[in-house]
Structures are given as structure tokens and as C-alpha cells.
């Protein structure tokens, strides 16, 4: 996992609530046995028309959103199935951070574990960002170390994240490695059973 400290990137407005993981990566793409290559199937059913051509009305197909690395969405993002393919697909597509008023629990965890930063902001702030990101080439800075988000036109917001996860992300640590250092505790626990 690569470390996440601070990024300044183009942000795309994705004004939808309850985006579920079935939409993020439809199940027909879950049969792969690799972690990579899911990006081209991200939002497949919304992104492409039935004939396989890109749907011009879909937010991420708009030219102004090309190359966006930050996604601004609405409440309850990532609900539904626990598939980790959802953050893999978002990452593979190029996203590094998702900003929303709320996230589904499992999606939130899965994102953290894969180095995709979920940022929870209050709904009013998200609404402001959604409006701003409608403009072409809207850039936003996400500063994980200082837990803040800002742009060059006066927007500034603080967000909070569990200190444990912050440390993991900032250092790009592998969780299994950390747990394995606690092997003696696990062994003691097992012996006592």
C-alpha cells in the first residue's frame, strides 16, 4: 500500500445518494481472481450505454471530469455488498479520495485498508463542494496529516479520522505485518482456550 499524506487534485461532482457497491462494480466483473484491472468496469451500468458506448450524461464521462482523482458524492456512499472490488475499482480508475456526508461501514473500512481515503464531511460542506466541483478543473487539496480540505477560492474544512487509520495510511503500512508482531499475544490467547 502506498502512503497517503497530502494531495492536490481535480475533484469530480457526483451528486448521488446511496450509491451501492453493486453500482460501483457490478457483479459480472467479480469473477476475476486478480486485484487489478477493475477500473474499466467502474460504474459500468451507468457509465456505458447498452451498446457499449460511453454514456455522455454520466458524470464521470463529462470532459471536465477527465482525470479527476477526488470524488465528491452524497450520503451513504458504498452501501450494500461487502465486495472489496469496489475500492479496488475506484483506485484502479484513479481515485485517491472520496468525500461524502456519510459512508457505509464496510465500504469505509475496505477503503482505508486499500489506501483509498474516505473523508466524512457534514452535508452542508459537501453541498458547497458539489457546487464548486461543477466548474471546470476544480482542484482540491486533501491534507491527511492535518485532517483538512481546502481550495484556492476560500473553501476550508476540517475532517476527522481514527488516529490508528491515519497512522496506517500516512505510513502506508501493511496491517498483517503489524498484527504478526503481536504473535505472542495470539499464542497466549489460543493456549488459554
Amino acid at each position: 500500500m502506498s502512503a497517503f499524506t497530502k494531495i492536490t487534485e481535480k475533484a469530480a461532482a457526483f451528486d448521488r445518494a446511496n450509491v451501492d457497491t453493486d453500482q460501483i462494480i457490478p457483479k459480472q466483473f467479480l469473477k476475476r481472481i486478480e486485484k487489478t484491472g477493475f477500473g474499466r468496469f467502474l460504474f459500468n451500468d451507468w457509465r456505458y450505454s447498452p451498446d457499449g458506448e460511453p454514456n455522455p450524461h454520466f458524470e464521470l464521462n463529462r470532459p471536465e471530469n477527465a482525470g479527476a482523482k477526488i470524488l465528491i458524492a452524497n450520503e451513504n456512499f458504498g452501501c450494500g455488498s461487502s465486495r472489496e472490488h469496489a475500492p479496488w475499482a475506484l483506485l484502479d480508475y484513479g481515485f485517491k479520495a472520496i468525500i461524502a456526508p456519510s459512508f457505509a461501514d464496510i465500504f469505509y473500512q475496505n477503503s482505508l485498508k486499500n489506501g483509498l481515503l474516505p473523508v466524512t464531511l457534514d452535508a452542508e460542506k459537501v453541498a458547497q463542494l458539489l457546487q464548486k466541483a461543477e466548474h471546470e478543473n476544480y482542484e482540491l487539496t486533501v491534507d491527511l496529516e492535518n485532517e483538512s480540505i481546502f481550495d484556492t477560492s476560500g473553501f476550508k474544512a476540517h475532517f476527522s479520522i481514527d488516529p490508528y487509520w491515519k497512522k496506517m495510511l500516512v505510513n502506508g503500512w501493511d496491517e498483517i505485518e503489524i498484527t504478526m508482531q503481536l504473535d505472542e499475544y495470539i499464542t497466549v490467547y489460543e493456549k488459554a482456550q
Partner: protein
């Protein structure tokens, strides 16, 4: 101050705690299936890691197995996932109920059935409906693939202690109201996120009088309310279900275990972070009409009007849902026509579900506009149902009788609902595209699904039931 079962189990499983960190929790049972595990095993292999406790791990294949002809698997990509699981289980020494095993089935059906799921255990699986196993008084929750890898390597998981939510269900359900209707009602009333951050304990009269199959249906859909886990304190019903199961403790060992399990039940003075009260009498057979499980109403009601929405977000999601579902605001629920019926999934594919549906179907015919499927949850369920002759009731009525698997719950195999068509489904999710691109899902109980199959439209099943109806 007393403790809830949630706290009791949690506290017993903390391996390591440190200020500012989640708890390191020991996992007693790790269930594995073909779709969310391949990347985890390859992760282990890349780092030269072993599976710490293959004896606490159990695998099956369910998500993309065909449910019709299994002699030759057509979908090569799906086949690759199945053979990959076989290879991984072989290499790491994990027991597997493979495609030809008499124990094969949906992971959440076979765990309990084989006596792997037991009270007091911590159980995980790379699937969000792992909450099902909570019916036995265990803490069971879904995890992602990175966590599957973590549990394989360490038999533990990092988790912050969740808050506790008590849902008390009093009273006796009306005729035609099943466990499925109760959980759909809770979702319709409290929304899709009332449980986020909580583990739910279901209590009360209505729960106590339920069978294990019914409790599993309730716990199964905890995740649809945002709660990772939902459970029921174990009681005599639980213990008698467990007795005699393949991997469950036997004889003296069982007696000792039962004595311990009795202690697990929540203390009378346990304190919860939140409590919700439900009166069973309020509930009628439920039908989802929208694109998330909370968009559900009683069968005799109407779809909400746009003008009833509290805010813009709600209005927009109602509008989107109606346009996806091809329905109109204010439409009567029992005016919805159905072209497909699916009885199956980890929510409602157990023996009792099939028995109840068969009771409704018996001697009747599936409507000529409807294609109807029964997909038993496991090979064991299938076998028992056949011994009771249920398969004949279904096939004579015009249902297809299939092999066990997830099937049309998520349509990863070729059991798909075509775009624009409506399916009365006993599964747990009605998201856009869940049963196929453009498919329109209506979540219902097995008996409501049976009624829809016969009439070709959503129909109040309670009107079809004799006064002394089976519950």
C-alpha cells in the same frame, strides 16, 4: 450493571488492546467462498505466509455456481474461480465443501446446518450477510478481502468495540406475517442506516417464539439497516437445533457447552446504547417497491407520493427509484405485475421457507406469465425437501427445482431477470441491477413469493391462508 450478550462475547475475544487502537479480536470461525477469497490467498502466497488455523476455517462455493446442469460448467471465468478455491484449500489445508459435496450450499446456510455456527463464537466471512449466524448468539459479521487475508494469516481482526442496539419485538404476528416481513417492516420504518456502527440484539416475545430458521432470516438482513451484525441470545430452541449436527459438540461435551451458552444470554439489567420497540401487530405482509430494502410498504398500501417526501434528497431518490422500477407514485402495491419469482438466497432458502411456500403452492399452478424458480440453500435442504416431497409440489405447479447456490440473489451465474421485468424475490437486496441489468426486484417472504407466482401479481397471501394457518 449487567452485560449484554454482545459485550460478553466481545470481551472474551479481545486478544490485545492498546490506547488509540481498535481491539484485536480473536476469530473462532472463518468461512470462505470462491468470490472474495482468491486475492487473499494470492496475497498470502506473495508474502510467504501460512494460514494460521486451517482447523478454524471452512470453505464452500456458492456465489457463481450453476444451479441447473452442473456436469459441465459453461462459464469459464466462474469455473476458474471455483478451481482456484479448490487449489487454495488444498494448498493451505482448509476443509472444503466443493461443488460435488453433499454439504455444499450457500455459506450462511451450511455453517449452521453443519454445526459450525455455535453460540458465543466470533464468526467472519467475506460476505456482508454473515450477520445471519448471529441467530445462534454469536457475533458474526462480513469482512472485505484484505481482512480475509488478515484473518487467514493471524486468526484475528482489528475492530473498534461497536455500540449496542436493542430491538424489542413484542406481540404476535398477524396471519401471513413471517420473519421476513418483520425485518422488512423494521427497515421500512427506520431506514437503511439506523444500525450503522451498532451490533443489534433482537429480543422480545416475537423473537423467542421463532424457530432458528426464522431468527436467521431476521439476523440476515441486519446489514440492510447498516448494522454489521445482529444476534439473538441463545435459548432452548438454539440448543435443540444444534444437537446432533455434524461438527457440533456431542454428549458430555455438548452438555458442558450448553451450560456455558446459557450464561451468555443478556442479563436482565443490561444497558444498550439505543433501543427500538416494534409491535408485531403493526406488521402486514411486506413488499419492496424501490431500489433499496427500506423502500418497502405493507401489501395493502400505496407507493408514496413525491409530495410526501421530507426533503430534496428523499424526493430525488424516490423519483429515481420509481423511474428505474417503472412504477408511479401512489400506485397500489398489489397492482404490481410479476414476471419472475425467485425463492432462495441466504435469507429464505431453508427447509421451513420451502415448506411454507409449498403449502401455498400446493395444488395450484404458476401463472402463465411467470417463470418461477426454487433454489434450495444447500444440498442438505434440497435432500430433506425432496424426502418430504416438496419438490413435487413445486414442479407440478410449474416451478423449476434447482441445485443449491446464490443463484438469482445476485445473478452471477446465468439465473438472470431480464431488463424491465419484475421479480418477486425472497432475497435481501433490491439494488439497481442486482438480479440483472435493468431487473426490477421486489423483496418479499417465501409465501408472498408463492402467491405472486400463482396470480402473476403482488397478492396479499394472508387472504389465501386458512384461519388456522401455518405461521
Amino acid at each position: 450493571m449487567g452485560k449484554s450478550i454482545i459485550e460478553k462475547i466481545w470481551d472474551k475475544h479481545v486478544v490485545y488492546e492498546e490506547e488509540g487502537k481498535p481491539d484485536l479480536l480473536y476469530i473462532d470461525l472463518h468461512l470462505v467462498h470462491e468470490v472474495t477469497s482468491p486475492q487473499a490467498f494470492s496475497g498470502l502466497r506473495m508474502k510467504g505466509r501460512k494460514v494460521r488455523r486451517p482447523d478454524k476455517t471452512f470453505a464452500t462455493m456458492d456465489h457463481n455456481v450453476p444451479t441447473d446442469n452442473r456436469s459441465e460448467i459453461q462459464d469459464k471465468v466462474a469455473l476458474n474461480q471455483m478451481t482456484t478455491l479448490e487449489k487454495n484449500c488444498h494448498e493451505f489445508g482448509i476443509p472444503l465443501a466443493g461443488i460435488d459435496s453433499p454439504d455444499q450450499g450457500i455459506v450462511h446456510v451450511i455453517g449452521p446446518e453443519l454445526g459450525l455456527t455455535l453460540p458465543g463464537k466470533t464468526i467472519v466471512c467475506g460476505d456482508s450477510h454473515t450477520s445471519t449466524h448471529g441467530a445462534f448468539g454469536s457475533i458474526a459479521f462480513g469482512i472485505g478481502t484484505s481482512e480475509v487475508e488478515h484473518v487467514l494469516a493471524t486468526q484475528t481482526i482489528w475492530r473498534a468495540k461497536p455500540k449496542t442496539l436493542k430491538i424489542d419485538i413484542s406481540g404476535t404476528p398477524n396471519k401471513g406475517v413471517t420473519a421476513k416481513d418483520i425485518i422488512l417492516y423494521i427497515l421500512s420504518k427506520h431506514g437503511f442506516d439506523f444500525g450503522t456502527g451498532y451490533i443489534i440484539e433482537y429480543c422480545g416475545e416475537a423473537i423467542r417464539s421463532m424457530s432458528m430458521d426464522e431468527r436467521m432470516t431476521i439476523c440476515n438482513m441486519s446489514i440492510e439497516g447498516g448494522a454489521r451484525a445482529g444476534l439473538v441470545s441463545p435459548d432452548e430452541t438454539t440448543f435443540s437445533y444444534i444437537t446432533g449436527r455434524k461438527f457440533a459438540p456431542k454428549g458430555e461435551e455438548l452438555a458442558k457447552a450448553v451450560a456455558e451458552w446459557r450464561e451468555l444470554a443478556s442479563d436482565d439489567d443490561a444497558v444498550y446504547d439505543k433501543t427500538i420497540e416494534i409491535h408485531a401487530e403493526e406488521i402486514a405482509p411486506m413488499v419492496s417497491w424501490g431500489t433499496n430494502p427500506a423502500m418497502t410498504s405493507r401489501v395493502h398500501e400505496r407507493i408514496p407520493y413525491l409530495s410526501d417526501c421530507k426533503n430534496e434528497i428523499e424526493r430525488k431518490s424516490l423519483q429515481n427509484a420509481l423511474s428505474y422500477m417503472g412504477l408511479t407514485e401512489g400506485q397500489r402495491i398489489d397492482d404490481i405485475h410479476i414476471q419472475h419469482v425467485f425463492i432462495g438466497s441466504c435469507t429464505n432458502s431453508r427447509l421451513e421457507d420451502l415448506r411454507q411456500a409449498a403449502e401455498i403452492v400446493k395444488g395450484k399452478q404458476v401463472h402463465s406469465n411467470v417463470r418461477a424458480l426454487v433454489v434450495p440453500g444447500s444440498q442438505q435442504v434440497k435432500k430433506q425437501a425432496e424426502e418430504e416431497g416438496l419438490h413435487r409440489i413445486f414442479t407440478e405447479a410449474g416451478f423449476e427445482w434447482r441445485e443449491s447456490g446464490c443463484s438469482m440473489c445476485l445473478s452471477m451465474n446465468n439465473d438472470i431477470v431480464p431488463a424491465g421485468e419484475h421479480c418477486a424475490s425472497t432475497s435481501n437486496r433490491n439494488f439497481e441491477g442486482r438480479q440483472g441489468t435493468g431487473a426490477r426486484t421486489h423483496l418479499v417472504s417465501p409465501i408472498m413469493a408463492a402467491a405472486a407466482a400463482i396470480y402473476g401479481k403482488i397478492t396479499d397471501v394472508s387472504a389465501m391462508m386458512p384461519e388456522e394457518a401455518v405461521k
